[in-house]
């Protein structure tokens, strides 16, 4: 059994966002991405962030989950801030550090960029926290389907994505087990595991051999169960789009139109 928690990982639930169709969620995300990059004013961006926070509230996700999800972007935020604060010039000089200055335009541009980043991360978190990876993969497959007529292997890619999702916990468990097994043989991975490439071999070699063996056995099992590349397949669950889904899509479209028209 695997017990690791990945931040940003799907949290099962039954909120409004959980129940929305994954296809609609993907479309809405796309629309909101466009909105995010069209917004030119702090007022507009502020409104969007408030809307996102309201959405977060409806999902009832534990607060530390959200903070945990935002943690990886802290460094990007700091980097962005430094970049904009020091290198975008214009307006009143706010601070002078030797030859470096921080000017008003830089601060406002930097803050705007950071607000955008936070919005971006919140949006994608909202999607991944409320949609199971399998649903997400199937949603993506749906949009790739038209490409199938052009010879694009949409069905195969969907199967590959779903198998990858299925085996992530198994392989995580396997690498954990290998780590401990080699430790039991006296391997010392503590104190700078990344310091020497030589230390990788006892983990990576068996992990790769295992993965190839697994792939071999899996391919055989899939073949035995009648899987053939390129053959027509059906799906057990066809998910339906309901009135609420259309309503949300419509609202998102309206929001985009409003942003375009008002120039927020």
């Amino acid at each position: 059994m695997n017990h690791s928690v990945t931040l940003g990982r799907y949290l099962p639930g039954s909120s409004f966002l959980h129940r929305l169709s994954p296809r609609i969620k993907l479309l809405v995300l796309l629309l909101f991405l466009v909105i995010l990059f069209m917004l030119q004013t702090f007022a507009g961006l502020g409104l969007l962030l408030i809307l996102l926070l309201v959405a977060v509230a409806t999902v009832r996700i534990p607060f530390r989950y959200l903070v945990g999800g935002l943690r990886p972007i802290v460094y990007i935020v700091i980097f962005t801030a430094v970049l904009y604060f020091f290198f975008t010039k214009g307006g009143v000089v706010l601070l002078r550090l030797g030859t470096l200055t921080i000017e008003q335009e830089g601060v406002s541009a930097g803050l705007f960029m950071i607000a955008r980043l936070v919005g971006l991360v919140l949006m994608s978190l909202l999607l991944t926290l409320t949609t199971s990876p399998l649903d997400l993969a199937q949603g993506m497959e749906y949009f790739m389907r038209p490409l199938g007529r052009l010879g694009f292997p949409a069905g195969e890619i969907a199967v590959i994505m779903s198998i990858a999702l299925r085996f992530i916990p198994t392989i995580a468990e396997e690498s954990q087990r290998l780590l401990r097994a080699q430790q039991a043989r006296g391997a010392d991975f503590e104190g700078g595991f990344f310091s020497r490439a030589r230390k990788f071999a006892p983990l990576m070699v068996p992990l790769f051999i295992g993965a190839f063996r697994r792939a071999d056995e899996l391919a055989l099992a899939m073949e035995a169960r009648g899987y053939r590349v390129g053959a027509a397949r059906t799906r057990m669950h066809e998910e339906k789009i309901r009135a609420a889904d259309w309503a949300v899509l419509l609202l998102a479209g309206a929001a985009l139109a409003a942003v375009v028209l008002t120039g927020l």
Binding site: M1, R180, R185, A187
Partner: protein, 287 residues
């Protein structure tokens, strides 16, 4: 080496909604030189317990005492523990990564920074112990060995640390009868050396029953029973209830007793049963 645990507990992901209590307040002791079998249905915490005893996991609560000293999980202490306690994982041949059998077996002794001469000695000794001392094999890839030989080589790779305690997780899984026979012969031979302790996790009791002198039974993270074979197998009902079965010979003897035949219910090998029935035959045949 004497190991005992006090209120040993282990919880995966403590403090989160994903937490799983794998072991709860385990008090047990394993005597120096014993051949202990750890029983339990799947998911009962056996593998977690082995990893705790091998110092690979740190208990969330409780403590482990080794020769009376409480394990503090200091780095040097852990290294010493891992050298003295050999842990053989399930399907240990899956850990192989070296190009030659020699390097594979030498991995552990080299990790403990032994001089090359000693490493060579250790490798030869370990391979000799498991019966793979054909010099032609040394430079062969470990992956070219047969399934049974690979398993033995994986055990040799742990024996090369010269541990005093060997912990094995399902060592016979996937081996044919001949491979299983060889493996248990090896464990018996190791256990005969003074002070060498063997702890085996297994589901199949047919071969191990005649070797084991102590049993630990886990069920859903708790220690259900601990004791001599006689003590454990007299509680067949409870074993059955948590999905464990008696050694096949014992099931056979139970059937004979149920048919009204005067045999002892606690026998561990076919040989013992044979002796008992032959003795009975002499009695019956006497008019």
């Amino acid at each position: 080496m004497l190991i005992c645990t006090k209120k040993l507990s282990y919880t995966y992901m403590p403090g989160t909604s994903f937490k799983v209590e794998a072991l709860r307040e385990i008090d047990l002791s394993i005597d120096r030189g014993s051949f202990t079998v750890l029983l339990g249905p799947s998911g009962s915490g056996k593998s977690t317990l082995l990893q705790l005893l091998g110092g690979l996991l740190r208990p969330t609560e409780g403590a482990i005492f080794i020769d009376g000293r409480r394990l503090q999980y200091r780095r040097r202490e852990l290294r010493e523990l891992r050298r003295r306690v050999g842990l053989v994982f399930q399907e240990p041949e899956r850990q192989f990564f070296c190009e030659t059998l020699y390097d594979e077996i030498a991995f552990a002794p080299r990790n403990f920074a032994l001089p090359p001469g000693t490493v060579k000695e250790r490798v030869e000794q370990a391979l000799q112990q498991v019966g793979l001392d054909d010099p032609a094999l040394l430079q062969r890839s470990p992956f070219q060995l047969s399934a049974g030989q690979q398993r033995l080589a994986a055990i040799a790779a742990v024996l090369a640390m010269q541990p005093r305690l060997l912990l094995l997780d399902e060592p016979t899984a996937g081996l044919d009868q001949a491979g299983q026979r060889k493996l248990f012969a090896l464990l018996q031979q190791l256990n005969r050396r003074p002070g060498f302790t063997v702890v085996v996790v297994t589901h199949r009791l047919d071969r191990v029953a005649s070797l084991a002198d102590y049993y630990l039974v886990l069920d859903r993270g708790g220690l259900l029973m601990e004791g001599s074979p006689g003590e454990i197998f007299s509680r067949a009902e409870e074993l059955h209830r948590c999905g464990l079965s008696l050694p096949p010979v014992m099931l056979l003897m139970h059937e004979l007793i149920a048919a009204g035949l005067p045999f002892s219910p606690v026998l561990y090998s076919i040989e013992e049963a044979r002796r008992e029935i032959n003795a009975w035959r002499k009695k019956v045949a006497r008019p």
